[in-house]
Amino acid sequence: MAMGTSSFDVKRAYYLERTIRATEEKIAEIYFTDKVKSPVHLSVGQEAIAAGACTALGGDDVVFSNYRGHAHYIAKGGDLNSMWAELYGKANGHAGGKAGSMHLVDTKVNFMPASAIVASAVSNAVGYALALKMRGSDARVVCFHGEGAADEGVFWESLNFAALKDIPILFICENNGYAIYSKQQDRMAGKSIPERASTFGITASRADGFSAQAVYGAVSKAMAALREGAGPLMIEVNTYRWLDHVGPDDDHPGGYRPQSDLEAAQAIDDIPRLAAQMDADDVARIDAQVADELAAALAFAEAGDFPDETALGRNDYA
């Protein structure tokens, strides 16, 4: 099976982070036009996680994401054109407009339909991994979730079951400190998520979510262990969401989190840090490529037709 690159690929990570950032910023920029008629949960500031993690995966590996899934989808090798068409609600979107931003799905790149119910895909990911294990597959499952997912009991049930059955799966906990406007410490008592997880039989560790390289390193190691037969693993990555929980705006003026936190996060933004490791030519070339691809994707979406009414009843039952 196709494996991830064997060592961290700065250019690839830069390309992915730039593509994600450019996409998200474009969404924010055009949101007022109402071309994207659905809630959008942007990952601006969190790109390093998706880029670092997904470049450590093979094509056969399966990703479960959530409503904040643009970054994961792009990093997993998703199709920017069909994603943009999906955001536009067009028939040439990968789910013909039925999914929209919150439910990105593309089985061609083993990206499962994202759920907008907090924590609820975690057990689905475990079940998928169980099936792969029963089948003796080499593919592995990675499940992205926010720290808020750990509020839900089903999260702990899922961890327990994965550990009980020694199911090879990697949970990546993207801890941005908030669930909507609610701080983690206002929702969670006791120890950290990894510490809790370890009492549920999960081998849990942490990585620097502001660095794709750090995430790549941690995830590569985890994937190697999973392929060698390790049971469930968790990596908690710290991160920071620059924009509002939902929608295109900067919510810091709302006052629930300090401007200084944003500035601190921006100071360690991975994109310029990666760029600094690259030739200026490469940076310019990739920037241009990203701009071209984004423009093409937008054009693809704009050119697409809206689905006609017959699409409504399509795929109601399998």
């Binding site: 008629k37 609610s182 409504l312």
Partner: protein
């Protein structure tokens, strides 16, 4: 006090909470984000500043336990109001609602009771998709033990919420997202609406249109379209789903001879099914011509153009009514404004 004061639906809810919390210190509010900067469409805004952080507080994303906490507090004599940003999330706590809240009073033969309110937002607005648009009220109509209210007007939002808080049973209180900004006359003093009563919003003699929550506005607009065709529609806001005031509906339907019930969910086993079944059982009058409408029988698609086909609307309601009356659907005028739908923009 002037009795023509205008308030929005969201502000009417806020006033209801505010007044009940002042009157009765057993009333408190809990729910995700109730004390945040948006305060559930303004309805819980800053209540903690007035009544303290113990009486309007944020909770973990743990609907099953939080519902259980509210139930437990109610067992101890409190009157919790548990707010959910979307009714879809009630699926996470159905066990607490169906197996616990609806059962405790009866199974203890009256020794305990569960006076709690479960507020939940429903419905379309802005590409909410399959998991953020559902209104599972037939579940709570089916299982005995609940009261279910779905107010459409700001007046009934306030009077309904106060009645719900004061009621000694678990009350499922349903708020459509597109209604929060609607305005209407709301008395300033605390008042209760009578539970179990539908409300006739428009008198008419040719056909009865019945709506649930936001589909009441579809019915009202449909009545306007039908009026242009010379059809005089009576419009009923079901308002109380449990107990279900089928009497008012059936009386109207017997009068007009025609009935369309527009559910705010799928039709199968919905409120329309229940009402039409009662009409069928009713041996009294003439055979009423009746039809049901509701969501298309699929999950909710996200893209607007399919949403428009998925949801009932003023035109489709008027068309259904026209056909039932023997008129031509093609004759129904199609230009109708739905400002709250056009004006509702993301991100929510």
């Amino acid at each position: 006090m002037p009795n023509d004061r205008i308030l929005s639906y969201g502000d009417a809810l806020h006033e209801a909470l505010h007044q009940e919390m002042a009157l009765d210190d057993s009333v408190f509010v809990l729910g995700q984000g109730v004390d945040d900067l948006k305060g559930q469409y303004g309805s819980t805004l800053d209540l903690h500043k007035e009544y303290g952080p113990d009486r309007n507080f944020d909770v973990p994303i743990a609907e099953e336990a939080i519902t259980g906490v509210a139930i437990g507090a109610a067992l101890a004599g409190m009157r919790p109001v548990n707010v959910h940003q979307r009714m879809d999330f009630l699926m996470v706590c159905m066990n607490q609602l169906v197996n616990m809240a609806a059962k405790y009073h009866y199974m203890s033969d009256g020794q305990v009771r569960v006076p709690m309110v479960v507020r939940a937002s429903i419905g379309r607005s802005w590409g909410q998709g399959p998991q953020h648009s559902q209104a599972a009220y037939p579940f709570f109509m089916h299982v005995p033990g609940f009261r279910v209210l779905a107010p459409t007007t700001p007046h009934d939002a306030k009077g309904g919420l106060i009645a719900a808080i004061r009621d000694n049973n678990p009350v499922i209180f349903i708020e459509h997202r597109l209604l929060y900004a609607n305005t209407g006359v709301v008395p300033e003093d605390p008042f209760e609406i009578e539970l179990g009563k539908a409300r006739i919003l428009r008198k008419g003699k040719d056909i009865t249109l019945v709506g649930v929550s936001y589909t009441v506005t579809d019915c009202l607009r449909a009545a306007g379209l039908l009026a242009l065709m010379g059809i005089d529609a009576e419009v009923i806001d079901l308002l109380s789903l449990a107990p279900l005031d089928s009497e008012t509906v059936l009386k109207s339907a017997q009068k007009t001879g025609h009935l369309v019930v527009v559910d705010n969910t799928w039709t199968l086993c919905g409120a329309g099914a229940e009402i039409l079944a009662r009409l069928q059982e009713d041996a009294s009058g003439i055979k009423v011509k009746a039809a049901r409408m509701g969501y298309a029988p699929t999950a909710c698609p996200t893209t607007r153009c399919l949403e428009d086909a998925y949801y009932p609307g003023p035109v489709s309601v008027a068309q259904k009514a026209a056909v039932l009356m023997g008129a031509d659907a093609g004759d129904v005028p199609t230009d109708v404004e739905r400002t709250e739908l056009e004006e509702f923009k993301g991100p929510f």
